[in-house]
Subunit: 205 residues, 2 copies
């Protein structure tokens, strides 16, 4: 899953680890906490040895040869390879059941701008189905659990049920929009949100 996110980010521009983590935190802030280094660096290694990313020597060597003696060992910038782009596309296309849990869905959604409309629709509907199942199961618990559960547990279920219902409604909206070919409407999110046009689909480097 993190593999997917990293490939997605490097798809936009080369980056080093620290930067990657910050961008990820910004892009996925609503889904998950910042990625741990204990995950990030091993994953980068794995991606590199799989050939999906390579080290890009940072400084364009023309500027100056000044700092030769300090061995530096500074930041390591990675960039995505052709195989990496292919892999990313595969991961989008496959979209198994793990794509519909909280984390998986969020990450896939965050890269919808690089996902074709049919797949977007498929993922949104899969997610909706999953959240609906969750909702039904919680309704059941709330219905037959008058005695069995204490007041706090019930309150927790109620709050969770509410969140599920909200998410389903949100997904419905997105699905309707998607079917009609529009990108998510800009809506009020500040004052002058720029015209982020659909701009879907930009494969090929």
């Amino acid at each position: 899953m993190l593999e997917f996110a990293i490939l997605g980010l490097l798809h936009e521009s080369p980056m080093h680890g620290y930067e990657l983590r910050k961008e990820l935190a910004a892009k996925l802030g609503s889904i998950r906490a910042a990625i741990s280094y204990g995950t990030l660096y091993p994953t980068l290694r794995r991606l590199q040895s799989a050939g999906y990313i390579t080290e890009a020597d940072e400084t364009p060597p023309t500027t100056a040869e000044v700092p030769v003696l300090t061995s530096k060992r500074g930041r390591v910038v990675y960039k995505i390879t052709a195989e990496g782009k292919e892999r990313f596309a595969d991961l989008i296309a496959q979209a198994g059941p793990e794509t519909y849990d909280d984390a998986g869905f969020g990450i896939h959604f965050a890269f919808f701008a690089r996902t074709d409309q049919a797949t977007r629709l498929r993922i949104l509907e899969g997610r909706r189905r999953k959240v609906e199942e969750r909702r039904e199961s919680m309704r059941d618990v709330l219905a037959r659990a008058g005695e069995r559960l204490d007041a706090y547990t019930l309150e927790l279920q109620r709050h969770g049920l509410d969140a599920c219902e909200r998410e389903v409604r949100w997904l419905e909206e997105l699905i309707v929009n998607e079917r009609s070919g529009r990108a998510p409407e800009p809506r009020s999110a500040g004052s002058g949100t720029a015209e982020t046009s659909p701009h879907v689909q930009d494969e090929r480097p």
Copy 2:
């Protein structure tokens, strides 16, 4: 974290693994998916060798000695020990920072009926603080990210921000109730939810 949940459940009555999983799914349905057996059984083992739980031979031996030859190896029922209850109380009292993330908070909340009021308040406030921080960080992203992020990512942030704001309001309500000494008000959750009175605090076996 799962250690805490298992101890909490066994605190109520002895159970075998499968049952434990189902009860957990019902009690924590709003928080997390059902616990995996790959977690459950090793955890039970760990708890047992730490002395927090023991095997309880299921059948009261008086009923019948009929099935002797079939070696059976059927369900293994566990029950909590005195050390286990102590451990559970410790885990409630400590309530470190991991108590405030999504999973940790949910699990602790689910056992609020066994938690004293002061600790309940402390946990609710810690959680609120954490969600508020998350909310602020997402507001920042939304404010300065007109250009940097695409429409889908923005939509994701908006949905996440909304969820944060709701949770903060929910927590505020709970905190007010808690301060005034009331349990969460029954509210509309069916037709005749029975009088689940506060009934907080039942230590001592």
